[in-house]
């Protein structure tokens, strides 16, 4: 089925390594897992067509060791490297090394990775593609009069940041017009004194937001979207629960959002799977671009479940230089999907990680259930990497069925020997606020507070 890629080295571990191995096997491509000494007895190593030990346990010496991975790819003669997520997936220099060594990097070019990895550059591209960005000054403003003008045009509350500031210094939220002139005056003066530079950035200050992102597939020429995912349920900026479609968007908002993401990708002739991230302001019902992720994401299965599109297989086919053979009109969003990221963490104890041995593991099953996990009975979670033990994805004909099915699956699943976040997830998705669909990024924190 593939032309150039006959073998893929998976430069990752855990569930995403397994996910990619499965995609390779379905594409008829040889899968070569890499593993650190800490991971030698894991499911990806067992299920891959072959496996190569690339270094000792610490990630810097193994999964983040670019030299070791490129060397392994060359020595073992693979055609392509899939970086998964995390580790080297958004390192432009690694993509460059692959390119330089004649290895296909399954992702966009090094050039696009670095362009999109630069927030200021990315915002400029977004602006040029008419993708809404958070209203604010185009860069630093030096003149008081100009700053006042911009601030008045943006509306309130707004955020003033000293250009030379950072880490919270030289930053002020302005709640209303009443204090604008004085605030602006003060912060510019202070900045002049403190940093010798009075210039400021001015930005709309968003207080009630959701996190919504759009999944894209692009072959460098055409680009389609697979709808959006809503990742608003976060704890300390860590996504906990993702779902699709977003319960916040109307059909026309969805269409606008997704079209804007496609415009952005087309602007840079994007070529791979990718995600455009937005904040959605619950108050003014507007979405604003924040960044583009140039890799496959943890939560990609949520989009797979509602579209039937295998994102990893499509991503590999694009890397094989194939033309996208799915048209936008072929994509039908069907039902609702929710993903819970299950971690070996103790929710009763500040979510502290609980590495250890899983004495017994029983995945949940049945209609609409997908458990992407590298767990097995007897598996020992090593202390070197993150604490995610798997992703439970549930599909339902509607959001309500998806929540109920997830609840059923969470209680059916059995992970013995370590503490997990399963019960916490069950509480979260069954909270009145989550069920209502009406919440923002602070919701999980307040849920946790209520419990104490």
């Amino acid at each position: 089925m593939l032309n150039k890629i006959k073998s893929v080295m998976i430069a990752n571990r855990g569930e995403i390594s397994l996910r990619i191995i499965r995609a390779c096997q379905e594409l008829g491509v040889k899968s070569v897992a890499i593993y650190s000494e800490a991971d030698k007895d894991t499911l990806p190593v067992k299920l891959a067509d072959s496996a190569v030990c690339i270094g000792p346990a610490p990630a810097q010496a193994s999964y983040q060791n670019q030299e070791a991975i490129i060397s392994a790819a060359l020595a073992f003669g693979v055609d392509a490297i899939h970086p998964g997520y995390g580790f080297l997936s958004e390192k432009a220099d690694f993509a460059k090394k692959c390119e330089d060594n004649g290895i296909i990097f399954i992702g966009p070019s090094a050039d696009i990775i670095s362009k999109m990895g630069d927030k200021i550059e990315a915002r400029k591209i977004a602006d040029s593609a008419s993708v809404p960005t958070i209203p604010g000054s185009d860069g630093a403003v030096t003149e008081f009069k100009k700053a006042l003008e911009i601030a008045e045009s943006i509306g309130f509350p707004l955020l003033i940041k000293a250009s030379a500031g950072g880490g919270g210094r030289g930053m002020r939220v302005v709640e209303s017009r009443d204090t604008l002139e004085q605030d602006l005056n003060e912060i510019m003066s202070e900045a002049e004194v403190a940093f010798g530079d009075s210039s400021v950035y001015i930005e709309k200050y968003l207080t009630d937001i959701r996190h919504i992102e759009v999944q894209l597939l692009a072959d460098g020429d055409s680009c389609i979207h697979l709808g959006e995912r809503d990742c608003t349920a976060q704890r300390r900026n860590q996504k906990l629960v993702e779902e699709a479609p977003s319960p916040a968007l109307s059909t026309s908002q969805r269409n606008d959002l997704c079209q804007s993401a496609v415009r952005l990708a087309k602007k840079v002739k994007y070529k791979s799977a990718g995600t455009v991230e937005y904040v959605y302001d619950n108050i003014d019902k507007q979405f604003y671009f924040i960044e583009m992720n140039t890799r496959v994401q943890v939560e990609h299965p949520v989009s797979e479940m509602i579209t039937g599109i295998d994102i990893i297989k499509e991503q590999i086919k694009i890397a094989d230089n194939q033309v996208l053979n799915i048209k936008q009109e072929d994509i039908v969003l069907s039902g609702h999907a929710i993903e819970c990221r299950l971690n070996a963490e103790d929710p009763e104890n500040g979510f502290s990680p609980c590495p250890g041995t899983i004495s017994y593991y029983r995945p949940p099953g049945g209609f609409g259930i997908r458990m992407d996990s590298h767990l097995e009975s007897g598996y020992t979670i090593p202390p070197y990497y993150d604490s995610m033990i798997g992703k439970l994805i549930c599909w339902g004909a509607d959001r309500n069925e998806a929540i109920i099915r997830m609840t059923r699956a969470l209680s059916e699943m059995k992970v013995e020997g370590v503490k997990t976040t399963a019960k916490f997830h069950s509480k979260l998705i069954n909270s009145e606020q989550f069920k209502s669909g009406n919440f923002n990024t602070v919701f999980v924190a307040s849920l946790l507070e209520k419990q104490h």
């Binding site: 006959k6 073998s7 191995i21 390779c24 096997q25 379905e26 008829g28 491509v29 040889k30 899968s31 000494e37 030698k40 007895d41 190593v45 067992k46 299920l47 891959a48 067509d49 072959s50 496996a51 190569v52 030990c53 690339i54 270094g55 000792p56 193994s62 030299e67 070791a68 490129i70 060397s71 392994a72 060359l74 020595a75 073992f76 003669g77 090394k97 060594n101 004649g102 004495s359 097995e376 009975s377 007897g378 598996y379």
Partner: protein, 173 residues
């Protein structure tokens, strides 16, 4: 205290029994200065003994990039679980095992056609270069580290090696 005579054969029988009893996870036995402890992985207990494991990747020569060879027809069926690189080598007290310090390609000689750095039986000193591991076109010399004699060479010339893979065994002198 009554003695009872445990022979190596008895121990073998015991371990064989443990191997066959799929549900035994750990066994430890201590008697008269003899201590036996067996612990098995729950998940991997199906493929415990190293000889039962699949062909280690280490011995499966992968084609080099340049030849663009026909890879094994990509099979849908995954291979058996892999043994750890060091699984099938035992090292005695007076021996020194040289393992690959990084993943790469193994070379026995400084350049193609040149004589090998060392051969089996050859005397080596700590500073003797015994082989090269190529890592991203960088040639890394491996030294013997000990005084002794080359007893075994586990890898063939120009083959890829994993991290930690046994390369040579030196009998110390």
């Amino acid at each position: 205290m009554k003695d009872f005579d445990i022979s190596l054969n008895d121990l073998k029988q015991l371990t064989k029994w443990v191997k066959e009893s799929s549900d035994i996870r750990e066994l430890s036995l201590s008697y008269n200065g003899l201590e036996l402890f067996i612990s098995r992985n729950e998940s991997t207990q199906r493929s415990v003994s190293s000889d039962a494991a699949g062909t280690p990747v280490t011995t499966a020569p992968a084609p080099s990039k340049q030849e663009q060879p026909e890879l094994n027809k990509p099979t849908i069926a995954p291979t058996a679980s892999k043994s750890s690189p060091t699984a099938d080598v035992s090292v005695a007290e007076n021996e020194h095992l040289i393992t690959a310090p990084m993943v790469g390609t193994f070379y026995m000689s400084p350049k193609p056609g040149a004589p090998a750095f060392v051969e089996i039986g050859q005397q080596v000193e700590p500073k003797s270069v015994v082989c090269i591991i190529e890592v991203m076109k960088l040639m890394n010399n491996l030294e013997a580290k000990v005084n002794g004699r080359v007893k075994e060479i586990y890898v063939e010339d120009q083959q890829p090696v994993e991290y930690g893979q046994p390369i040579m065994l030196i009998e110390k002198e």
